[in-house]
């Protein structure tokens, strides 16, 4: 059975290995370049953090983002090209009537095939994810945006869960759809929908967010603005390394009263340094809602765990269904 699995899978495996080799070379190259840049701009005498950020962003933002997107897309592609055809192609070409009448039960046939393809998918995705995590670590350290929707799912262990789920889902969809191309399309659609739903709806609530009253400091915010009701609000504030769930909040003074435009107008003289010093001295505060930085690994494991659990459920259904014969 393992021989047959390998015989049918080896073409795809060769393609995957070739792609993996090219990407490994690229990611190692990117990692080395980033380390050089980090050394040059960060670990130097008289360099400022913001200048270093600017330099690395100008030089590498596109490459790091694209590499991350690649890792986001990899499980979907693997699920569509390896998972979906696994049963669908046999059903479509009629060869299931050949292979399921050898002296091997369908359950064992599926167990071996699914096992091999899942292992390959997790290995390829895992290798890419860990390589990118290593390569981009100077960049990620500098910006501290690990929770960002495009960063979080493309680093560390989360992609392994995606790969596992994508393959299992592809196989199950193939069994139901019975057409290779249709199954591939549905697999891509389902996986994409989940990848949008997860960060938008589920991930922020994996643990109750921290709600905290924080002191306004100008360096932690992008600016202040006036709301429609005439209140002054903070814009784009961030807690270092944390995942901010709200980006604006009404400012209140020491007495807890909402601040109006007139209260802050006196600070605006036109000289930037004076203005921010004046604002900071007003002792303003606001309510922030966020997931703190030290929850990163909890969230990584929770996210992987959810996908592993989903994959387990879908796999259970697939085995039940294939055993029950086709009708």
């Amino acid at each position: 059975m393992i021989w047959l699995t390998w015989r049918q899978f080896r073409g795809q495996a060769v393609v995957a290995l070739a792609a993996l080799a090219v990407l490994t070379a690229y990611l190692v190259f990117l990692g080395v370049r980033l380390r050089d840049a980090y050394e040059q701009h960060v670990e130097c005498a008289g360099c400022t953090l913001s200048a270093a950020r600017q330099a690395l962003e100008n030089g590498y933002a596109t490459q790091v983002t694209l590499a991350g997107l690649l890792i986001l897309v990899a499980p979907a592609v693997i699920g569509a090209f390896w998972g979906a055809p696994l049963i669908a192609r046999e059903l479509e070409t009629g060869t299931y009537r050949l292979v399921w009448n050898q002296s091997v039960t369908r359950v064992r046939w599926l167990a071996v095939k699914l096992g091999v393809v899942v292992a390959a998918a997790v290995a390829v995705t895992g290798a890419l994810s860990l390589l990118l995590t290593w390569a981009a670590s100077p960049y990620d350290t500098l910006f501290g945006h690990r929770f960002e929707p495009l960063l979080f799912p493309a680093r560390n262990v989360a992609p392994l869960g995606y790969a596992l789920f994508a393959v299992v889902a592809g196989v199950a969809i193939g069994l139901l759809a019975r057409r290779t191309v249709v199954a591939m399309a549905i697999t891509l659609a389902v996986f994409t929908a989940l990848q949008i739903l997860m960060p938008a709806v589920v991930r922020p609530h994996l643990q109750p967010p921290v709600t905290e009253v924080v002191l306004f400091r100008s360096e932690a915010a992008e600016g202040i603005g006036i709301t429609e009701e005439g209140h002054v609000s903070v814009q784009g504030y961030s807690v270092p390394g944390a995942w901010m769930l709200t980006f604006t909040g009404d400012l209140r003074d020491a007495a807890g009263e909402l601040v109006s435009r007139d209260d802050v107008d006196r600070c605006f003289t036109g000289i930037y340094e004076q203005d921010v010093a004046c604002l900071d001295a007003m002792n303003l505060h606001y309510t922030a809602e966020y997931q703190p930085a030290d929850r990163y690994w909890t969230f990584q494991w929770l996210e992987s765990g959810i996908y592993v659990l989903l994959a387990g459920l879908v796999a259970g259904f697939t085995f039940w269904r294939i055993r029950r014969s086709l009708n």
Binding site: L4, R97, S103
Partner: protein
């Protein structure tokens, strides 16, 4: 001996459409059983149920005394060659033999090799490039070399030209003689089956019309020809399969398993398998009965 196939009240519906209705059938061991009927009669459904690829809507089916395809041991005992003899077009002939060897503990490599040599299949050729006849031979070699006790073929020759058809049936007969196995094969052409089968099942309109050993069937079916108004009463146990009338003449096809017909009507004449099958297909009330006649005649040598 356990019958190779036994069904009780076997029914299979696809959505609402019945494919098999209340089939009660027993095929004894050691036969080459032919399953004949027009396209859409339910032959493939019955054979796929027997191979465990489908589950019944109602009723039971037992193959070699057990539920089909339940475990590896049972799978090893039944060889199934599906309609259109599916093979992996990307794998070579040799790869298919390797597949058979890896997936069947009872694999007979010598038998497989000998068969391929006899029919002149090149092991290095991709299965996708084989002709229909070669593909059928490959599928037959695969199914036979796992050394099953029962071989099931679903329309094995439907897609073959007359020469390949003859070659395939010849190979099949050689196997059966050599391996001493039971065989069930289906065809919509009686001509394919009557040369090789010693047991016949006529399936039409999702029901079994008649089944039995060919010898017994031939001994039990007669044609009665008389004037209009004759044969108003027939002996007990004689069953009219088909009646035809013209202005002056009456023709009956009857089944008599009691032996009371001939003493009462000495001019009753035996009929061949083809007339018998036609009578049952006509009785099944299939609206396209005319085309059956054509199909069945087409197979005559």
């Amino acid at each position: 001996m356990t019958p190779v196939l036994r069904t009780a009240g076997l029914t299979k519906r696809y959505r609402r459409r019945p494919a098999l209705t209340d089939v009660n059938l027993t095929i004894p061991s050691g036969r080459i059983a032919g399953l004949v009927g027009p396209n859409g009669a339910g032959k493939s459904t019955l054979l796929n149920l027997a191979a465990g690829l489908l589950t019944p809507t109602a009723g039971t089916i037992e193959v070699l005394g057990r539920r089909p395809g339940g475990d590896a041991g049972h799978l090893a005992a039944v060889g199934f060659v599906a309609q259109d003899t599916p093979v992996y077009s990307g794998l070579s002939v040799a790869d298919h033999l390797r597949l058979g060897a890896r997936l069947n503990p009872s694999w007979d490599e010598r038998l497989a090799q000998r068969r391929l040599a006899q029919v002149g299949l090149n092991p290095a050729q991709k299965a996708g490039q084989l002709s229909g006849g070669q593909r059928a031979q490959l599928a037959l070699a695969l199914a036979a070399a796992k050394r099953p006790r029962l071989l099931i073929f679903d329309e094995p020759v439907a897609a073959l030209d007359p020469l390949a058809r003859r070659g395939f049936l010849q190979s099949l007969m050689e196997f059966v003689a050599e391996l001493e196995i039971s065989v069930i094969l289906s065809s919509h052409l009686l001509g394919d089956l009557e040369r090789v089968c010693d047991h016949l099942v006529v399936l039409a309109a999702s029901r079994v019309q008649v089944a039995g050993d060919v010898e017994d069937l031939l001994a039990a079916h007669y044609r009665l020809v008389g004037a209009r108004g004759d044969f108003a009463t027939l002996p007990d146990g004689v069953q009219v399969v088909q009646a035809e009338h013209t202005a002056r003449q009456r023709t009956l096809i009857v089944r008599d398993t009691t032996g009371t017909l001939v003493p009462a009507h000495p001019d009753a004449e035996r009929i061949g398998l083809e007339d018998m099958v036609l009578a049952y297909l006509t009785r099944a009330g299939n609206p396209s009965a005319g085309s059956h006649t054509e199909l069945l005649l087409e197979a005559q040598p």
